[in-house]
Symmetry: C2
Subunit: 214 residues, 2 copies
């Protein structure tokens, strides 16, 4: 057990920020050992890591973080559903589309691709709409969105997830630790992949246009 | 040449939205053929595609879109620098770090990795800070951020970019068309990769936790 100053040192989060998270209900209160003193534990250190990952790396608004944390804390939710809650929180909102022919076709293409890949995805998952929207935009812009191109992205994604991300989850340990690792990994490795892609683009563009920084 | 109603049909953007883009200076004015009538061309159709991609798929604020469009329109800028402007616009802001030992180490690791990969990246590119931040966060969270893991993400990223993204740019056509394709590809394929990764995670999680939607 530790005092708030020790929690601050252990977590590298400043005391005023910790107090803000306590007021916002993101961090559970410490154990009150006297009228002016509360003690914190390992659980608080871990929870601060989760909040920082969602806030600083995931850039989620406080309201979304609160939802993710409620899911992490709800022991009746399966880990799979906690991940789903995190996914919904980090996903961009897909605007409702008129159920026109084009949208129906894009959505059918998204569902067909997921089915062909043999992926287990909830029929109601909003990620299906996100994929359909990307397919629709690419085709409206006249850019390649063939099954072959999409499949390349899909193969790369499943490769990274199964090789690195799912394996780093300590599923044999306490539920809370596993859930937190799952949620943090979702956010942080997503950021890694995104920045790597932009670095790769800058490098590929430099080559195409004959620019060197060496 | 076409009237605003035809531009709306050709671009699938409603007339009030077109007028809004005109007022915001995102879309260049049409050619005034009488006091009450302006004519639009292919250039306006293409520009509307670019705006929609940045706004709806990239979710950039209007101010950022204005910067990207100014770069696209500036014929003195090389295409490589226009891409850089687009990259900076879609990148999350990396907060300034205290130049402490940990940050210096993470940044050196990021630079070392980019160097080892032989990538051509501007020494001042903010993406270097983004990568350093991701490395720092992963190591503070006790999650794997070894060179090996990062290299897997890097290889995947460069593979997708060189196989699909750079090749879809019509670099032999007019500059404006090439630049617009470059910028749109950056934003839209980034979205495709991001949603594929979350779909793959949902599927991998369903398998690990024994859930089937079949």
């Amino acid at each position: 057990m530790m005092r708030i100053s020790q929690l601050s040192t252990a977590s590298r989060v400043p005391i005023p920020t910790i107090k803000y998270y306590l007021r916002e209900g993101l961090l559970p209160a410490g154990e009150q050992t006297s009228a002016t003193r509360a003690e914190y534990g390992e659980r608080h250190v871990r929870r601060l890591r989760l909040i920082r990952a969602l806030l600083e790396v995931g850039r989620l608004p406080i309201a979304s973080i609160r939802k993710v944390i409620a899911a992490v804390d709800d022991e009746n939710l399966s880990m799979h559903h906690v991940l789903g809650t995190a996914h919904y929180a980090i996903a961009p909102v897909v605007e409702l589309h008129a159920a026109d022919e084009e949208w129906t076709r894009a959505r059918a293409e998204a569902d067909g691709l997921i089915g062909d890949l043999g992926w287990q995805v909830d029929p109601d998952a909003p990620t299906r709409d996100e994929l359909a929207q990307a397919i629709l935009t690419l085709s409206q812009l006249g850019m390649p969105a063939t099954g072959e191109v999409l499949r390349s992205y899909a193969e790369v994604a499943i490769g990274l997830v199964t090789e690195h991300e799912i394996n780093s989850i300590p599923i044999d340990g306490p539920r809370e630790a596993a859930v937190e690792a799952l949620v943090i990994g979702t956010v942080v490795y997503g950021r890694v992949l995104d920045v790597m892609r932009r670095l790769a683009q800058e490098s590929a563009s430099a080559r195409v246009f004959g620019i060197s920084y060496d």
